[in-house]
Amino acid sequence: MTTGGRIQEHMAGGGEREFVLDVRTQDMEINMGPQHPSTHGVLRVVIRADGEVLTKATPHMGYIHRCAEKIAENVNYDQFVPYTDRYDYLAAMNNNLGYALVVEKAAELEVAPRATWIRMMVAELNRIGSHLIAFGTYGMDIGAFTPFLYGFREREWMMSLFEKLCGARLTYSYVFPGGIANDVPPGWLDELKRFCDVFEKKWVEYDKLLTRNKIFIERTKDVGVIPSGMALDYGLTGPCLRGSGVRYDLREAQPYLFYDQVSFDVPVGIGEVGTQGDCWDRYYVRMIEMLQSVRILRQCIERCEKDTTPGEIKGNRKKTLRVPATEAYVGVENPRGELGHYLISDGTDHPYRLKVRGPSFCNLSVLEELLPGTMIADAVAIIGSIDIVLGEVDR
């Protein structure tokens, strides 16, 4: 696609004449997505490419918009819980939790301690499951297929744990305003303990197989660097923000549930193999977070067994839920960042307005600035490292 070349002459630094053949080529405009293997769903990025290098990238979204917020205005509070499952379908428990907390705040409901501990357990377990997907699909984006199935092996166990708990494997609707659907079945906590022990061993495998792989490091270090200022400007949250070195985790900054009673670290990116805030840092923050989740899980199991008696999961909620006219906002730390629910109620049994702040949606906005100047393979690595779930971008 050469559009003509001419020889340009100019003086070089040493006073010598230098000739440069000025060959211009046209940029190529390509649709990456919505049907592309590595846009993690139906994201469409219109890219302009000069050879392998991107000169412009525009993300388009909205292919699976399902009007979740509008639906919330037309169904009652409990009926909306299943819809929350479906925005970030990889972390349905965390979505349930975020929605339940905002309704509880507005309706001033109290939750039994045992239910709160169990909520923390399912939230952290789901965080592990979600990060396992992030780990596996990131490996696939870089070109390694095997880590994906390694990740799915443990995720399978996580899902069967949830299946035993509430009967569903992906969309749980287990946490709802006022408490949880049912107490844990007998032996479930012991199996969860076993899961924690086994998972820590398997984590070492992931570390050897992918994290410390030379090619993987070469592909992800110094790629897609988000400086901390830029991360804050774009309103990034979750691992994308912490990967840039900003220590901000809602579980630590504004503790909800009993997160102030358990000890855990908040990992941040330090540029261990490259620049702070590169793809590897974001990836590694997720890996460490999985271990921290295991740590929280252990403490939750211990406290739950010690402080509470089985069966005591009822709070002070009445069967029909009416929320007095008020406004409330609650943000929870989802695997992908801050999931915020802003609820305006009008005293009826359904919300007047429910605004959802999705982490993937906000994190996605940084792509437009991050992608130009990188290569196509890097673009895939960057999109993967942001770890978006399109169900939640579009809602």
């Binding site: 870089i142 070109g143 095997t146 090619i215 070469e218 290569m375 393979a377």
Partner: protein, 378 residues
């Protein structure tokens, strides 16, 4: 595929002309005998040779796809195909039949002629290369003095087909894949060629068959294998050849032309049915061909440890042992390729280039010069 037949005719002529150099056994002998009956004899010999070649060249990929899927299944804690036939061996055949009956879609805006021809060219180069590889002293269809030189040329034919496919598909992802393939193939031909030169310098011949013969004998009958005979230079060269071979066959971590996560399917995105299976066949066949070249040059050919070289040539049984030994070694190398594919992530295009030009090519040069010195001083 007609190229393969033409080559076979040439080959029969060539070997017919040089019939003095030892009576062939098996298929080669029959072909040579037929060639004595003039034009029709040549024609029958060519068709027969083509049929045999095509049979081998399609049977091996079936075996290799099965191996790839079973081995990867093993590595990923799943089963892999295990339903069709014993251990799922016939699965690839079933898939082939499925591909045959699928609709052959040609995109409306594609360049029809190039689109249809491209898979044929890709496969033809590969099949012709099959005619030139020696599995034992006499199990070689074409034993030309050009040998490995001709094989390199035929293997490079593939890149033309791939570029044609990428361009004719009228799909930007396909074009990207084709351009990557072109850049990668042209670059890796250099270390690839240098490593071949090293073997040529060591043996003083271009014929893979003669190279294999020359590696008989020595300590435990492995002492004359090139990597042991000249370990300082030939061992790194063998490794470089293997890496370049991975790049030439588009195997991971060099599978950029068909990088699934980046380019959808690369140059064969628009292909379906039988034409797609040609590309597929070519990849697995070239794995085998390149493994055999590596073995013939560096890993002792068909020679086995503890077995004297004289026991591998001459009688039918000895030749059979040689063929089996060659196949075994090739299968080991193919297994390593599969192993690498399911372990490593993919390299980026600029890293592919810098690996080639900054590391492989200079090291290969040093090895080549070192080997020249070695051969002169010993």
């Amino acid at each position: 595929m007609s190229i393969a037949s033409v080559w076979t005719v040439l080959a029969v002529q060539a070997s017919g002309a040089g019939a003095g150099e030892g009576a062939g056994t098996g298929a080669t002998g029959i072909l040579k005998g037929l060639a004595a009956y003039g034009f029709w004899g040549y024609l029958v010999a060519a068709l027969l040779g083509f049929a045999i070649l095509f049979g081998i060249a399609s049977a091996l990929p079936i075996l290799f796809t099965w191996a790839e899927r079973r081995v990867s299944g093993r590595m990923q804690q799943r089963w892999g195909p295990n339903r069709v036939g014993p251990f799922g061996l016939i699965q690839a055949l079933a898939d082939g039949i499925k591909l045959m009956f699928k609709e052959d879609i040609i995109p409306a805006k594609a360049d029809k002629l190039l689109f249809m021809v491209a898979p044929g060219i890709v496969l033809a180069g590969m099949l012709s290369a099959f005619a030139l590889i020696p599995l034992s002293d006499s199990a070689v269809v074409v034993d030309t003095p050009l040998g490995v030189y001709l094989i390199t040329a035929l293997l490079s034919l593939e890149v033309i087909g791939v570029i044609m496919a990428g361009w004719a598909s009228n799909n930007k992802w396909s074009l990207f894949g084709a351009m990557r393939e072109a850049a990668q193939m042209v670059s890796y031909e250099i270390p690839f060629g240098l490593c071949i030169l090293l073997a040529v310098v060591s043996y003083g011949t271009l014929s893979l068959r003669e190279m294999s013969l020359a590696q008989a004998g020595g300590f435990l009958n492995v002492g004359n294998w090139l990597i042991f005979h000249n370990p300082l230079f030939a061992l790194p060269a063998a490794l470089i050849f293997f890496i370049a071979a991975l790049a030439n066959t588009k195997r991971a971590p060099f599978d950029l032309p068909e990088a699934e996560s980046e380019l959808v399917s690369g140059f064969h995105t628009e292909y379906s049915g039988l034409r797609f299976s040609f590309f597929f066949l070519e990849e697995y066949a070239s794995m085998f061909v390149i493994s055999v070249i590596l073995i013939a040059m560096y890993l002792g050919g068909w020679n086995l440890p503890f077995v004297p070289g004289s026991a591998m040539t001459g009688s039918f049984g000895a030749e059979l042992l040689a063929v089996l030994s060659m196949l075994f070694k090739a299968f080991v190398l193919v297994f390593v390729m599969i192993w690498i594919r399911w372990t490593l992530p993919r390299i980026r295009i600029d890293q592919v280039m810098s690996l080639c030009y900054k590391y492989l090519t200079p090291i290969a040069f040093v090895c080549l010069i070192g080997t020249c010195w070695w051969e002169l001083s010993t």
